[in-house]
C-alpha cells in the first residue's frame, strides 16, 4: 500500500488527512508524553493499548487491552509502538495480526532476531514497518507519527529519509530555513536491520509527482547507502538529490551510539558510501548546513 494513502487517505474520504492512529504503550512515560505531543501537532490519536488498563481514558483517548479491540473499535490501521525493547516483538506481532498496515516502531535496543521475525511476518501480511529505533514518519503540517520535535519541519516538496533521528531534525531545520519544506520525512532507524531500508524509503517517495528534491541522511555501518546509490543509477533517477553521511572520523570497529553504526574492515565505511553516491551523481555534504546549499545547486541544474 502506498505510504501517502496510509498516512493521508484520498481526497473526499471523511478522514482525509485525519487518519486514526493507535498508540501501543500509551500509559508509559515515553508513550504518554509523545501521545500528547502528537495530539497537539494535530495527529488523530484514536485509541491506546495497555494490557490490563482497558476501559480507562488517557487525555480523552480510550485505552484497550489489546490491539485487536482498538482496531475493532476504531477501524484504524496505523499503530505506533512505545513498549520497552524486550516486549517489542510480541507487541508488534499482536499489531500485525490485528490488521495494522503501518507499524512505527520507536523502541531502541530491540534484539536483531526479534526484528527479523517481525519483518518476516510483516512481509507475509503486506505491512509496512518503520524502525525499530526510529524517530518516526511525518508529513509536515498534516500528520506526525513519532517522537520528533515539530519546530524543524515545514510543509513543502522535498523528501528527507534518514538513519539518524537528531540529524533528521538538524538537516530538516536547515532545509526549512532555506525554504525547502518537506513533503515527507522518514526516519528508518539506526539498527542493523530495518523494517524499511533506505532503498524502500526511496521507493516510497520516488514517484511522487510533486517531488522537487530528495535528501538522504546516512551514516557508517552496513551498505544500505551503497544499495540506494545503485538503485538511483539503475532507475536513472534524475530529480535533485543530495546526501549527507555521518561518521567519517569514527574509529573502526567501534559501535557509534547506534547498534548499526559500525565499520568492520572496509564494510560500512563512509568512504565507500561517499564514493557510491558520487558515482550516482549525488553530491555529499560535508556538514549538515551544507545540505540546502548543495540542494539549491542541484535544483538549478535540474531546471
Amino acid at each position: 500500500m502506498n505510504i501517502f494513502d496510509i498516512l493521508k487517505g484520498t481526497e473526499g474520504d471523511s478522514d482525509y488527512c485525519k487518519k486514526g492512529v493507535i498508540v501501543q504503550g500509551i500509559t508509559g512515560a515515553y508513550g504518554s508524553l509523545h501521545t500528547k505531543n502528537m495530539m497537539s501537532y494535530g495527529t488523530n490519536i484514536v485509541a491506546g493499548v495497555t494490557p490490563s488498563k482497558g476501559g480507562q481514558i488517557f487525555e480523552g483517548i480510550p485505552i484497550h487491552n489489546t490491539v485487536q479491540e482498538a482496531v475493532d473499535a476504531t477501524g484504524a490501521n496505523i499503530s505506533i509502538v512505545f513498549v520497552p525493547a524486550k516486549f517489542f516483538k510480541n507487541a508488534a506481532i499482536e499489531a500485525l495480526n490485528a490488521g495494522i498496515k503501518l507499524l512505527v516502531a520507536i523502541p531502541e535496543h530491540v534484539p536483531v532476531r526479534d526484528t527479523m521475525e517481525v519483518i518476516r511476518l510483516a512481509k507475509e501480511k503486506g505491512v509496512t514497518v518503520i524502525g525499530p529505533n526510529t524517530p518516526g514518519v511525518m508529513i509536515p503540517e498534516i500528520i506526525k507519527i513519532g517522537i520528533m520535535p515539530h519546530m524543524p519541519f515545514k510543509s513543502g516538496n522535498v523528501a528527507v529519509i534518514s538513519k539518524s533521528g537528531t540529524l533528521l531534525y538538524e538537516i530538516s531545520d536547515a532545509l526549512s530555513a532555506a525554504n525547502f519544506g518537506q513533503c515527507i520525512t522518514i526516519g528508518i532507524g539506526g539498527d542493523p536491520i530495518n523494517g524499511t531500508r533506505l532503498v524502500d524509503a526511496f521507493d516510497m517517495v520516488k514517484d511522487l509527482p510533486s517531488l522537487e528534491g530528495l535528501v538522504i541522511v546516512g551514516e557508517i555501518g552496513g551498505d544500505s547507502e551503497e544499495l540506494l546509490a545503485q538503485r538511483i543509477m539503475e532507475l536513472n533517477f534524475t530529480k535533485p538529490t543530495v546526501a549527507y553521511i555521518a561518521g567519517r572520523a569514527a574509529p573502526k570497529g567501534k559501535r557509534m551510539g547506534h547498534a548499526g553504526a559500525i565499520v568492520m574492515g572496509t564494510y560500512g565505511s563512509a568512504e565507500s558510501k561517499v564514493n557510491m553516491f558520487n558515482k550516482a551523481n549525488v553530491p555529499v555534504a560535508k556538514r549538515p548546513t551544507e545540505v540546502p546549499v548543495l540542494l539549491a545547486g542541484k535544483m538549478k541544474e535540474f531546471v
Binding site: 536483531v112 540529524l167 539506526g190
Partner: protein, 369 residues
C-alpha cells in the same frame, strides 16, 4: 560483544566443534603450568579483538622452555593496532594439510543470515577466493543445505560429513547465542584428516544481552563505559583531547567529523540519548571528569525533546560542585535556548549559535594551550 579467539573457541567446544587443546592465561606463572600440561611444541597467541595478529608477530611457535620464558612476556607486552593483549592463548600446534574458510553472519541488506564458505581459507575474508555464498533465513541450516555447500566448495570424501557436522553445530551456536558473526578461519583439514577450528571470531548482538546471562563473563568494559551504559548513554573513548557530547548518535558522529575537519582531536564520543534531563547531563559530565587528558568539552545539542535550560543548569551545577573546571564550547539549539544563554553568561561555558563556531573556538583554544 566481540569475543576473543579463546572465548569463541570455548563456545565452539561447548557446541562440539573441534578445536586444538589450549589454555588462556594472563600471567606467566599460570602459563608455566599450562605449558607443562600441553607439552612442547605449542603456539603462543596474542588475544585481542584485532585482525592481523600473525603479521604483527603476535602468534609464534614455541619449542622449548627457554623460548617460552622469552616469548611469553614479549607477546603479553605487545600492542597490535592500538590493542593491548587481553590474554595469551597457548595452543597445541597442528599439522595442517589444507585451510578452509567458514562464516555465518547477519546479512544486513538481505535481512537474513548468510553463510560464506571457501576451500581457500587462512587469509582475510576480503582476499578469500571462490566464495560460496548462501542465504539461510534465520540461521537454521539443514544437513542438505550444508552438504550442498560442501560440494560447491569442492570438498571430497570424509571431509564432507565433518564439514556438514561443523556447519550445523555452528548454525545452532549462532541461533542460540544470537550472533551477528561467527567465523572459523582457518577451518583446517589436518594431516590425520580431521577438521579443526584453528581460529575463531564471534560477535554477539548487544541488544540480546538480557537473554544471555551465560555470556556476560565475556563482557569487557572499563568502569567508565559500564557506568555510561547504566545511564543509557553511548560512550566511545578516543585518543584526542576534546570531549564531544551531544544527543543522538548521528548528531554526535557529525560533530566528530566536523571537529576532525577543523584539525581538532576528539577525546570521546558521548551520546546522552534523546531524553536528556539535568541529572543525565550531570552524569555525562561526571563521566567526562573521569577520562584522562581532556582539555575542553564540545557540546552539540539539538533540543526539542531536551530543553536547553535543562542542560545549562547541569553545567552550572557541575561547576558549583567542582566536578569540572574545563572550558565548555556549547551549541544548544532548541526550546528555551535564549534563557539558557542568560543562565550561563558568567560561567566558563561559551555558547555559540552554530556548531561550526563552537568547534572553531574549541580547536583554537586547544592549540593555544
Amino acid at each position: 560483544m566481540r569475543l576473543l579467539e579463546f572465548q569463541a573457541k570455548e563456545l565452539f567446544a561447548e557446541y562440539g566443534i573441534r578445536v586444538p587443546s589450549g589454555h588462556a592465561s594472563t600471567d606467566i606463572s599460570t602459563a608455566r603450568q599450562d605449558a607443562k600440561s600441553l607439552g612442547y611444541p605449542f603456539i603462543i597467541k596474542f588475544q585481542a579483538p584485532v585482525g592481523g595478529r600473525g603479521k604483527a608477530g603476535g602468534i609464534q611457535l614455541c619449542s622449548t622452555t627457554d623460548e617460552f620464558e622469552i616469548k611469553y612476556p614479549q607477546i603479553l607486552d605487545m600492542t597490535i593496532k592500538g590493542e593491548r593483549a587481553r590474554a595469551i592463548l597457548l595452543e597445541k600446534a597442528a599439522n595442517i594439510k589444507k585451510e578452509l574458510y567458514l562464516s555465518l553472519f547477519l546479512n544486513r541488506s538481505k535481512r537474513c543470515y548468510t553463510v560464506i564458505a571457501s576451500a581457500e581459507g587462512g587469509v582475510e575474508i576480503e582476499s578469500v577466493k571462490d566464495q560460496i555464498i548462501r542465504e539461510v533465513g534465520m540461521g537454521d541450516i539443514t544437513d542438505d543445505v550444508a552438504s550442498e555447500i560442501a560440494k560447491d566448495m569442492g570438498l571430497e570424501g570424509d571431509v564432507i560429513s565433518q564439514f556438514v557436522d561443523t556447519l550445523s553445530r555452528l548454525s545452532q551456536l549462532a541461533v542460540e547465542k544470537e550472533v551477528e558473526l561467527a567465523e572459523i578461519n582457518p577451518l583446517a583439514i589436518l594431516d590425520d584428516g580431521s577438521l579443526v577450528a584453528l581460529d575463531g571470531k564471534m560477535i554477539t548482538d548487544d541488544n540480546s544481552n538480557f537473554r544471555h546471562p551465560e555470556l556476560q563473563k565475556y563482557r569487557e568494559e572499563s568502569e567508565v563505559e559500564e557506568r555510561a551504559e547504566k545511564s543509557g548513554f553511548s560512550l566511545v573513548i578516543m585518543d584526542g583531547d576534546i570531549a564531544v557530547i551531544g544527543n543522538g548518535a548521528g548528531l554526535v558522529m557529525s560533530t566528530l567529523d566536523m571537529l576532525s575537519d577543523s584539525g581538532g582531536k576528539a577525546a570521546c564520543f558521548l551520546d546522552v540519548g534523546g531524553g536528556a534531563t539535568t541529572e543525565s547531563v550531570y552524569e555525562a559530565l561526571t563521566l567526562i571528569s573521569k577520562i584522562d587528558g581532556i582539555t575542553g568539552i564540545l557540546v552539540n545539542l539539538y533540543g526539542g525533546i531536551v530543553k536547553t535550560t535543562t542542560v545549562a543548569s547541569a553545567f552550572l551545577l557541575a561547576y558549583e560542585n567542582k566536578l569540572i573546571d574545563l572550558p565548555v564550547f556549547a551549541r544548544l539549539k532548541g526550546a528555551e535556548s535564549d534563557k539558557a544563554q542568560v543562565m550561563l553568561a558568567d560561567s566558563k561555558t561559551q555558547l555559540f549559535d552554530s556548531v561550526e563556531d563552537a568547534i572553531q573556538t574549541a580547536v583554537t583554544e586547544a592549540k593555544s594551550r
